[in-house]
Amino acid sequence: MTEQGTTHVIEVTINGRLYSRTVEARQLLVHFLRDTLDLTGTHIGCDTGSCGACSIILNGKLVKSCMMLAPQADGAVIETVEGLANDGELNPLQESFSRNHGLQCGYCTPGMLMAGTYLLRENPNPTEEEIRRGIKGNICRCTGYVNIVRSIMDVAGGHGAEQADGIVGEEQR
């Protein structure tokens, strides 16, 4: 958008679906997702970009959606928690979180899942320390992180072609 304005028309692809909306420039991307598009799986836990509950994957990068403005997402390809399962069928990472009791209240969970998804794409075989670094930007108050680390570790490595997000053959860095 090379014209300046307080409102802009943006086009965003989210979980494979294209949306076109008019947004106020001041609207945070997380509010765009939650309020404008009713994608309420992405959560808000703070107001300083510290907690990571709003984490999504944008253009292949894990980001905090509360730290971006909606117009900045124009043209972007976004993945949110709503895109992880396949028509109600949980993906291996989601199943692992449940199996390993990696969630209690579930509020940090969407952000954790996106962080875990991104981490395993970048590093399919992380050590425990690397997992902890990978979720450092995601605060949890319920679990003490122990079972979250186990959940991610449980789908790491040794799974051949089936990676954590079930996408086979995804190019790794």
């Binding site: 994608l39 309420t40 680390v149």
Partner: protein, 830 residues
């Protein structure tokens, strides 16, 4: 939406019992798909968005409030001020405190004065979040700042500005707890250890989801519909109902998924009352979303408690005879649920120890800070921490081994049920075994060797700490009378419904407000055991709804009691349902009831499965086909079984401040190893072990998760988290930018062990657990104490930043007063 995750493990063919299994949770399916319903996900047609206008001053007179510019902003529906709120109310909020404290006047919004930074003076309703926020800035408030008091001790012991003129004092409550004969013990003990001051700091659990509500005061029906994440909804109704002039049955409280609470979501009923008035004024629903800074300033802080002039009589062999202390509890500017904290700590008067002589002079002090309300480990954690410090300091000063000293003074396994000096009854446990298990899991032997090999000069020190704690669960609300004898409260309870629905579906409702503890799952487990079916086929209604009528006065989720009260209610209701099904089955199958059993959703004759009737058939006979039944049966069976579990309590002896204040006592013993950098005071945790005993565990994985979570919060509180105010009453940590919440890189891996000492007092042998008694705070402080070494300073505060650790190390080398003295009787070994 299908929740496939729950089905995999739970379709095992035959199991002994579902209770005791770590089955995956029913909650998970929706939560891992982002399909939970948290309060900000919900709304009502036509709603406005609310934003509170809050005082920047800690203490000030409100000279004027001018809302004209805000009202004029396009999109603003209404603005409500404190004066208006007062006029719309019948009486101020009910106060738990007696005497002076009872004269505190609190309204839904501040009137005449503001008393803490963040005190709400007005609230705006507008057509969007943004407009409400913008309009709030346009509300012009003129303040006349007043002198501020931010220290609890100063607030009550010196001439300090009084917050509530009508009370005339900052003492919200005062009382002396006196058991045995501490003065005799002090006079005759071999040693007396005197500690000048121990301080438990102010922090909270900061649940990731902040408070929120959608409140609709419907003009037509007069019903106030409250969707929120408040965790004790009926308590909220009881407080705000009389103020708003509204009967309890004109409220409709409900909640769905809650993003953590830890007690911090009990106290925000003033906001709900303000929103109700705002909704009434505007004629539309009011939706409020609290953001983090607002939460930190104005939601809930944990009790900050200062212990002064502590005296501990100790015999030569290490037997501790008791403790004497003065306690000042800083409870902030208003009393929300306080001053119950002034009695609740006495549930763990003596902690894990069996000494008999205790005297605590307890004052609850009002200060110009955020109001205090329950925080995980509410009020007990502070007492338990003090006792653990006492044990460690006595060991340190008198050269006892901290392990041996604990074992000597622990309540012993053969002592249970053990009555404490104030009449509480510890139901069961095995503290020495728990401690041994923790020490072994932590391999303390190896660490002690490494500690001594390290010696001096490496720049690092190792410290090994122990924290013993009790998690008292299921309150006897009669203890409120110890604070205020006029309060008509006693006992406790929880309600549940077990129902066979029209097509034979099994449905459970409970009066609790779960925030991640897995109530749907554990309720299904116990119900499945009683009905002999898979938990997959037991539906547990999500969340809380007053309309379900599964509530009693104290319904909610708090105080580590669900496994006892909630599951007790579920078990009672399900047992009734089972009985009703068998009754109908006996008629349908023309067989004696004793010859029947339930299995996988049917009622059948034992040994003759060809004679059976499925639940759908049972339901049919009662709901849609009742002429088939003899009226004797259909008149008393309705397959809708409500049960209230009532724990066996009596009204406490208010005069002597004695009674059975809590039904169960879970315990945890933690051991940790830290490494301290001598040059900087930086602490690294090398190993962390927690052993818990909560009686029979219904779902071990869920129990372990609670232990992990409590450890995470406790470590972060001990090293990183604190709410501090400057002398002008400005909060120094108003957001997550300043308030450092422990991250995955700060909290280490936690190894756990467990013992199950079943409670003889509960229907299922389980004890409530979850809060965790603050064990990690005690344990980290203990490890730091150990790292400071034999002649070192004492750890006197629950919060130890790197700088404080550095100062403790420095003062260990100097000759500064350490705040501790030992007085030994002549002839007694020092």
């Amino acid at each position: 939406m299908s929740a496939t995750s729950g089905s995999k493990a739970a379709t095992r063919e035959r199991v002994e019992s579902w209770s005791g299994q770590s089955i995956p949770r029913k909650e998970d399916g929706r939560l891992v798909q982002g399909e939970g319903s948290f309060i900000d996900d919900l709304g009502l047609h036509g709603q406005g968005y609310a934003w509170f206008v809050r005082s920047p001053y800690a203490h000030a007179r409100i000279v004027s409030v001018d809302t004209s510019a805000a009202v004029a902003l396009e999109g603003v529906y209404a603005v409500l001020t404190g004066e208006e709120a007062r006029e719309m109310c019948v009486v101020p909020f009910f106060q738990i405190a007696p005497g002076d404290g009872a004269r505190i006047e609190e309204w839904p919004l501040a009137v005449d004065k503001v008393r803490y930074q963040g005190d709400a003076v007005a609230v705006v309703l507008a057509d969007s979040r943004d407009t409400a926020r913008d309009a709030a800035e346009l509300v012009e408030v003129e303040y006349e700042p007043l002198a501020v008091v931010v220290d609890g001790v100063e607030a009550v012991e010196h001439a300090a500005p009084v917050l509530h003129e009508k009370a005339g004092t900052n003492v919200a409550w005062h009382g002396v707890y006196d058991y045995g004969d501490i003065d005799f013990a002090l006079e005759h003990a071999d040693h007396v250890v005197k500690i000048d001051r121990l301080h438990f700091h102010r922090f909270s659990s900061t649940p990731l989801e902040c408070n929120g509500a959608v409140v609709d005061w419907d003009k037509g029906s007069g019903v106030i519909d409250v969707k929120s994440n408040i965790q004790m909804p009926m308590f909220a109704a009881m407080v705000i109902g009389p103020s708003l002039g509204v009967a309890i049955n004109k409220f409709s409280f409900s909640s769905r998924d809650i993003g953590g609470a830890f007690g911090n979501k009990i106290g925000f009923y003033p906001q709900i009352a303000a929103l109700a008035l705002l909704s009434k004024k505007a004629g539309r629903p009011a939706k409020w979303t609290e953001y983090r800074t607002e939460h930190m300033l104005s939601s809930t802080h944990g009790n900050e408690r200062t212990f002064l002039d502590i005296e501990v009589p100790v015999m030569a062999d290490g037997t501790i005879l008791g403790v004497k202390a003065r306690a000042v509890d800083d409870v902030g500017a208003y009393l929300h649920y306080e001053p119950l904290g002034a009695v609740i700590w006495s549930q763990v008067l003596t902690g894990c120890y069996k000494f008999k002589n205790v005297k605590v002079d307890f004052t609850s002090a009002l200060t110009n800070k955020c109001p205090v309300a329950p925080n995980r480990g509410y009020s007990r954690m502070q007492q338990l921490w003090m006792l653990e410090r006492v044990i460690d300091i006595v060991a340190h000063e008198l050269d006892f081994d901290p392990v041996a000293l604990r074992k000597l003074n622990f309540v012993q396994p053969e002592d249970y049920p053990y009555q404490t000096p104030n009449g509480c009854v510890y139901d069961s446990g095995n503290l020495p075994l728990s401690l041994d298990m923790a020490l072994e899991l932590a391999d303390v032997e190896t660490w002690r060797r490494r500690q001594s090999e390290m010696g001096t000069g490496t720049g690092k020190r190792i410290g090994i700490g122990i924290g013993s704690t009790l998690d008292s669960g299921t309150n006897n609300f009669g203890q409120a009378r110890i604070v205020n004898p006029d309060l008509p409260f006693s006992g406790n309870g929880e309600a549940a419904f077990a129902k066979l629905d029209l097509y034979g579906e099994v449905n459970i409702n409970v009066g609790t407000t779960p925030q991640g503890q897995g109530h749907e799952t554990t309720s299904a487990q116990v119900a499945a055991d009683i009905l002999n079916m898979s938990p997959n086929d037991v539906t547990v209604t999500i969340g809380f709804d007053q309309a379900h009528n599964a509530t009693v006065g104290f319904s909610g989720t708090y105080a580590s009691q669900f496994a006892v009260t909630g599951l007790g209610a579920v078990m009672g209701a399900t047992a009734k349902l089972r009985d009703e099904i068998l009754e109908v089955g006996a008629f349908a199958l023309q067989a004696p009831k004793d010859d029947l059993e339930l299995r996988d959703g049917a009622c059948l004759v034992k040994g003759d499965p060809s004679r059976s009737i499925p639940f759908i058939g049972i339901a049919n006979l009662i709901y849609t086909n009742n002429a088939m039944l003899p009226s004797e049966l259909s008149s008393r069976i309705d397959l809708n079984c409500r049960y209230v579990y009532i724990p066996p309590f009596e009204v406490p002896d208010v005069e002597r401040k004695m009674g059975n204040l809590t039904l169960t006592y879970a315990s945890q013993i933690h051991v940790c190893v830290v490494e301290v950098d001598e040059e900087t005071g930086v602490v690294e945790i090398l190993s962390y072990v927690a052993v818990d005993d909560c009686g029979k565990r219904i779902n071990p994985q869920i129990v372990e998760g609670q232990v992990h979570g409590a450890v995470g919060l406790g470590i972060a509180a001990a090293l990183y988290e604190a709410f501090e105010y400057d002398e002008d009453g400005q909060l120094q940590e108003p957001s997550f930018y300043e308030y450092h919440v422990g991250t995955a890189m700060d909290i280490p891996d936690i190894r756990t062990g467990n013992i199950e000492s079943p409670s003889p007092f509960t229907p299922n042998g389980a004890k409530g657990m979850g809060e965790g008694g603050g064990a990690a705070v005690h344990t980290i402080c203990s490890a730091l104490q150990d790292a400071l070494g034999k002649d070192g300073a004492i750890v006197f505060d629950s919060h130890n930043t790197w700088e404080r650790v550095y100062q403790l190390l420095q003062s260990s080398q100097g000759n500064e007063p350490r705040g501790v003295r030992v007085i030994s009787r002549e002839g007694g070994a020092a």
